[in-house]
């Protein structure tokens, strides 16, 4: 133990900048990974309640340690390589899915200018990173040397590329109204004296709905989870994966879901702003002021709502048929978003919506 601590001291003192950078990298990732574990537990619990079951309740208090038990089981399992598969790409695929989904967290703000990178082009960076995650799925399907995995990868690639267009357009309408690509500025543009009616969900209501539905489709979640569709193609792109690589795919999917749950409030529901902003002016104590002044608890409450909505959708809706998913994306969402980008431009030009009152 002493030698480990000594080695740690040596490393920190020899490479101060590098250890600082590594520490800053771990700062968002460790809470994210623990958050994913809690989210999986919450999903199983909520779906259990919706099915009038108990959900996990044996490992730890309220079954809280169930996910950790599952993770350790997965990590200790053998990784099975399919015959004639491409081993390098087979192992590269989960990483290629994981890294962009972690990288996207760099620009997510949890308070005014509180982000790991307060980048000017934050929204573009997010779009670029989320569009790169699809490689992991395609490569997984191809490298597995399996028909089912290949079919799942094809479906997923087509679906993600289609819904990215609708998602991109809804982000465009947000940036037209906010006049900035910086996520912190986008939230500040929704501040004002009219409470929750200053947020962008009101002028951009169709885009808000389309954004979240596209987000569900982008993360390949129910009711758009045809990439895994158990009844048709067994488990889709990850049918051949076992052990740690499967755990990485699982982690990526849930990290992406939490990312979309963060973006929906940041873009449309005022991020950390309070829904009663401008209606109450008082100074009581720092632990109650956030209720009307806004603060990170509001952001996390909104994120919790959207994360739960994901689970709610999964328990409520039957799976879409594949051609209907494509129809919804191309023939319904994209025309609506194109029209609404024009409407948003008019709102900005004629001053119907003012950013940051």
């Amino acid at each position: 133990m002493d030698s480990i601590i000594a080695a740690f001291h040596w490393f920190v003192s020899t490479f101060p900048t590098l250890s600082m950078a590594l520490g800053l990298l771990l700062l968002p990732l460790v809470p994210l990974i623990i958050g994913v574990a809690m989210y999986v537990w919450w999903e199983r619990k909520v779906i259990g309640w919706m099915h009038v079951r108990m959900g996990p309740n044996k490992v730890g208090p309220f079954g809280l340690a169930q996910t950790f038990a599952d993770v350790f089981k997965l990590l200790l399992k053998e990784v099975v390589y399919p015959a004639n598969s491409n081993k390098t790409l087979f192992l590269l695929a989960p990483l290629w899915a994981l890294i962009p989904s972690f990288a996207a967290w760099a620009v997510i703000p949890i308070g005014p200018n509180v982000a790991w990178s307060n980048a000017n082009a934050g929204l573009l960076f997010l779009l670029a990173m989320t569009s790169m995650g699809v490689y992991g799925i395609i490569l997984a399907g191809w490298a597995s040397n399996s028909r089912y995995a290949m079919l799942g990868a094809m479906r997923s690639a087509a679906q993600v590329v289609s819904y990215e267009i609708a998602m991109g357009f809804s982000l465009v309408s947000v940036l037209i109204l906010a006049g900035s690509l910086n996520l912190s500025d986008i939230v500040q543009a929704q501040a004002g004296g009219k409470g929750l009616f200053d947020w962008f969900w009101l002028p951009l209501l169709p885009m808000f709905v389309i954004y979240f539905v596209s987000g569900v489709a982008e993360t390949n979640r129910a009711p758009f989870d045809v990439a895994e569709g158990e009844s048709e193609i067994v488990a889709g792109f990850h049918v051949e994966y076992s052990g740690a690589p499967f755990a990485v795919f699982f982690l990526t999917e849930y990290a992406n879901m939490i990312l979309v749950s963060f973006l929906a409030p940041i873009l449309f529901l005022g991020g950390w702003l309070s829904p009663i902003q401008g209606w109450v002016h008082a100074d009581v104590a720092w632990y109650v002021d956030w209720i009307w002044k806004g603060g990170w608890p509001w952001l996390f409450l909104k994120v919790f709502f959207f994360a739960t909505a994901y689970v709610w959708f999964r328990a409520s809706f039957p799976r879409y048929r594949y051609d209907q998913i494509m129809r919804l994306g191309w023939k319904v969402f994209i025309p609506i978003t194109i029209v609404w980008v024009f409407v948003a431009g008019c709102m900005k030009y004629f001053g119907w919506v003012t950013a940051g009152a």
């Binding site: 000017n120 573009l124 960076f125 670029a128 569009s131 094809m154 590329v161 209907q324 129809r327």
Partner: protein, 211 residues
């Protein structure tokens, strides 16, 4: 040597190496992935030059969309590259000549530009705004007409591409998802009102006790 310079050389070396791998690896899927790496490290070098909009647009458009479809096609077709590779050695001299001419042209261009001393300051930094907003201002005020013309040409190209690939095959049976979505419950299910049927009381169940 500054950290930025080290990063630049690293990214540039990866770009060149990946570009060489694109034309030299055997599997077309690996070649496509190397092309993705080339695009990505090119974007990194642009990011070092403060051209953040161009860099992210390159990742978004080429890595995120174009190469995905490329990979899609390459995986579906299962190409046999051996017949394509037969002429590689024969075409090599021509390729080298073209590459050398391009190199000379590029060096000449850089040489001519570097002779205009001093170098003009970067317009975005001079205007005191970010690269992205400077580009947007320039595109939508100074270059509005060329921008709109380019957009029109692209739209026409998209519309033209669809009729070119659209062909009606006879004898296929297709569904109309629009009609399927609009279907109402009353089109499919007929609800019939009828009196409930009560089973006759069983007389032989004397052995069982009812709670």
């Amino acid at each position: 040597m500054s950290f930025q310079l080290i990063c630049f050389y690293a990214f540039a070396a990866i770009t060149v190496g990946a570009a060489l791998a694109v034309i030299s690896v055997r599997s077309p899927v690996h070649a496509a992935l190397c092309l993705v790496l080339t695009f990505f490290s090119t974007a990194c070098t642009w990011l070092l030059a403060d051209a953040e909009f161009l860099a992210i647009a390159l990742v978004l458009v080429y890595v995120g969309a174009v190469m995905v479809l490329f990979l899609f096609v390459v995986m579906m077709l299962d190409l046999d590259l051996d017949p394509l590779r037969e002429g590689f050695v024969r075409a090599l001299p021509v390729g080298i000549v073209v590459a050398v001419v391009m190199l000379v042209e590029m060096l000449g261009l850089i040489g001519v530009r570097s002779m205009q001393l001093p170098a003009p300051p970067e317009p975005a930094a001079a205007a005191g705004m970010s690269n992205t907003s400077w580009l947007a201002n320039a595109l939508f005020s100074q270059f509005l007409l060329p921008f709109e013309v380019a957009a029109l040409i692209l739209t026409v190209a998209i519309v033209a591409a669809i009729p070119l690939t659209l062909r009606r095959r006879t004898g296929t049976r297709t569904q109309n998802p629009g009609r399927q979505v609009m279907v109402q419950a009353r089109d499919r299910v007929r609800i019939v009102k009828m009196a409930a049927e009560k089973p006759a009381p069983a007389a032989d169940k004397t052995g069982e006790t009812t709670p």
